[in-house]
């Protein structure tokens, strides 16, 4: 992977200049202490001129070559430092009005000043770049950690939501209330509904511990679920399931279809006064399994969030199939919504050869 170039922004530029000015001052004091040059004032001006010029040149070189990789960048930076030091020395001479004779008197030739500039320039530049690298590595480590923690959190959340989806309290209490009522009025119907609920709960609870189930098992559970709703909603709900027998023992992740059926009822048909139909279709074509859940409900529910369930399904598809698995949402005609799950499938893994 290509390394991202160090970004140069205004804040960083100002910071570099500030630090450089600070170091320059230290250097000037240090050199004066060594009885080098012509007193603290002149040394200070020279140090600032040389240091800041080197800093500017290095930054400019770095800015223009930020996307270039290889040895060109370090070479350019060394060149920038040398030129910076020479230009800085000249600037210092102009600023102090001093000519080279000052140094000659004191036995400090021009070239020495330049060399000292390069020496300190290298140290400071090295300091900047290594600091940059360290902080960048730290950021990378931090990002990795955040990524890992986020994905762990997501897994936990997904499991929690899965668990919640299976025994949605509203569904459970409403269904139980129905059964309670049917025990008064229609014992047989009540018993059937209880059996459906048991079947639904048993299969869905079992599935948390399994990684895959089959399309057939999943559909059977949805059957029980829809059957419960048919009793509850009476003639407001009808459903049809059209899955070819050949697809039934294909392995399939649990709780991907059920939330879509739940959405169709909860957000599509329950809010619609006259109700409607849920239809579930499946087909296998060219290595792709396609399962479609359509309702004739109210359609895009107003103000309804993009749905916890949906992003959950998308995440799971992504972790299971990468970019090959997808959830597509479409408008159903003439009304309602259609959710389509597409996942890759290879024939031989299901033992289907006749």
């Amino acid at each position: 992977m290509k390394q991202e170039p160090i970004l140069i922004d205004r804040k960083r530029v100002l910071k570099s200049f500030f630090y450089t000015a600070f170091f320059n001052t230290v250097i000037a004091i240090f050199l004066t202490g060594l009885k080098f040059g012509s007193g603290i004032f002149i040394n200070f001006i020279f140090a600032q001129c040389i240091g800041l010029t080197i800093c500017s040149f290095v930054l400019i070189a770095h800015y223009f070559l930020r996307t270039v990789s290889g040895v060109i960048q370090p070479i350019a930076i060394i060149l920038a430092m040398i030129i910076g030091s020479v230009v800085g020395t000249l600037l210092g001479m102009a600023a102090t009005g001093a000519n080279i004779s000052i140094f000659v008197d004191k036995d400090v030739p021009f070239i020495h000043v330049v060399l000292i500039g390069i020496l300190f320039g290298s140290i400071i530049t090295y300091f900047f770049f290594s600091r940059e690298r360290i902080s960048r590595t730290e950021i990378l480590i931090q990002e990795e950690r955040i990524k890992r923690l986020t994905s762990e959190k997501k897994t936990v959340e997904t499991n929690l939501r899965l668990l919640q989806a299976q025994i949605e309290p509203h569904f459970l209490f409403n269904t139980l209330s129905n059964i309670l009522s049917l025990l008064d009025t229609d014992l047989k119907k009540g018993q059937n509904m209880l059996m459906d609920l048991i079947h639904y709960l048993r299969t869905s609870l079992k599935k948390t511990r399994e990684d895959t189930t089959t399309i057939g098992q999943e559909i059977e559970m949805i059957h029980a679920y829809l059957h419960i709703f048919c009793v509850r909603m009476e003639d407001r709900l009808s459903y049809k399931i059209d899955i070819p027998d050949s697809m039934k023992d294909i392995p399939f992740p649990p709780m991907l279809l059920q939330p879509l059926v739940e959405n169709a009822i909860k957000h599509g048909l329950e809010p619609k006064i006259e109700g409607g139909e849920v239809s579930i279709r499946g087909e296998e074509n060219g290595g792709i399994l396609r399962l479609e859940i359509a309702d004739t409900g109210v359609g895009l529910y107003k103000g309804g969030g993009s749905g916890l369930g949906l992003s959950n399904i998308k995440e799971r598809l992504k972790s299971l199939y990468g970019d090959k698995g997808q959830l597509i949402l479409e408008e159903n005609r003439p009304s309602g919504l259609k959710a389509i799950i597409e996942v890759p499938y290879e024939r031989d893994q299901g033992n289907h050869s006749r």
Binding site: L7, S181, S306, E330
Partner: protein, 255 residues
């Protein structure tokens, strides 16, 4: 003594009949003059019978129980019914609103019946500010669930209309009278000017950074300042960068 009339509204037949029979057990004199399957039917029954009490399921097709309550507040006493609605129940407790949990228990129903009888016997008027309380409750509960902002983008794809959750959009880009929607999967054009979109999107999640660009804040990976002082936005997963125009730079000042 004048007879006390009530209506029951619930979209599930079994639940209506169950509540009715249990109610009559604990309160044999109560006259249940009508049953409604949805909010509108409940309103019609109210009009027709002018009952003293309305038992309203919260989740009903058409008008919800709360919406019905808001309309009829002050004309009768209201008892809400819910199977499970944590937030609503909490809110009811706080406002001292009568409610029943499904499946209703005999004890609870007796308590409710006793209270209703006392109130009616004392002929205290049903509270007039009830509609206000319910209105406040509804908006609170609504806030908790969803915002009024745009949640879906409808995109024509072949001969079907695909729905994309706005959260999956990286950014919107104006393109003449239309708007380009950029998602991880690619670009598509929608027939809506970006100006209108800006009004419909949640400004906390979608930032306008340019006259012609609205970016999903959740998709920003990095904001940096160029040497000229412009803010540059890098996006997650996508190679392109976006430049914030001067008039919107204040959005990123504190960063």
């Amino acid at each position: 003594m004048k007879e006390i009339k009530a209506i029951i509204a619930d979209d599930e037949e079994q639940l209506r009949s169950y509540l009715k029979s249990r109610l009559l057990e604990v309160w044999p004199d109560l006259v249940i003059c009508g049953e409604a399957r949805n909010g509108q039917e409940a309103l019609d029954l109210m009009e027709k019978y002018r009952p003293d009490i309305a038992f309203l399921d919260i989740r009903m097709p058409g008008l919800s129980g709360m919406e019905v309550a808001k309309k009829i507040a002050g004309t009768c006493r209201i008892v809400f019914i819910t199977a499970y609605d944590q937030y609503a129940v909490e809110a009811f407790e706080n406002e001292a609103i009568d409610y029943l949990l499904k499946p209703v228990t005999r004890e609870r129903l007796e308590r409710t019946a006793k209270r209703l009888k006392e109130q009616i016997a004392a002929s205290t008027e049903p509270p007039l500010d009830f509609s206000e309380i319910v209105g406040r409750l509804m908006s609170n509960l609504q806030d908790m669930k969803t915002s009024g902002y745009l949640q879906w983008i409808q995109v024509q794809q072949g001969d079907s209309i695909r729905l994309i959750p706005v959260d999956e959009v990286y950014y919107f880009k104006a393109s003449d009278k239309y708007t380009m929607v950029i998602t991880k999967e690619g670009e598509s054009l929608i027939r809506k000017p970006i100006k209108d979109l800006a009004d419909e999107l949640d400004p906390n999640k979608f930032w306008r950074i340019h006259r012609g660009i609205i970016v999903n804040a959740a998709c920003i990976s990095k904001v940096s300042r160029s040497l000229t002082g412009r803010s540059i936005i890098r996006l997650k997963d996508l190679p392109e960068t976006l430049t914030v125009s001067r008039s919107y730079t204040h959005l990123f000042k504190q960063m």
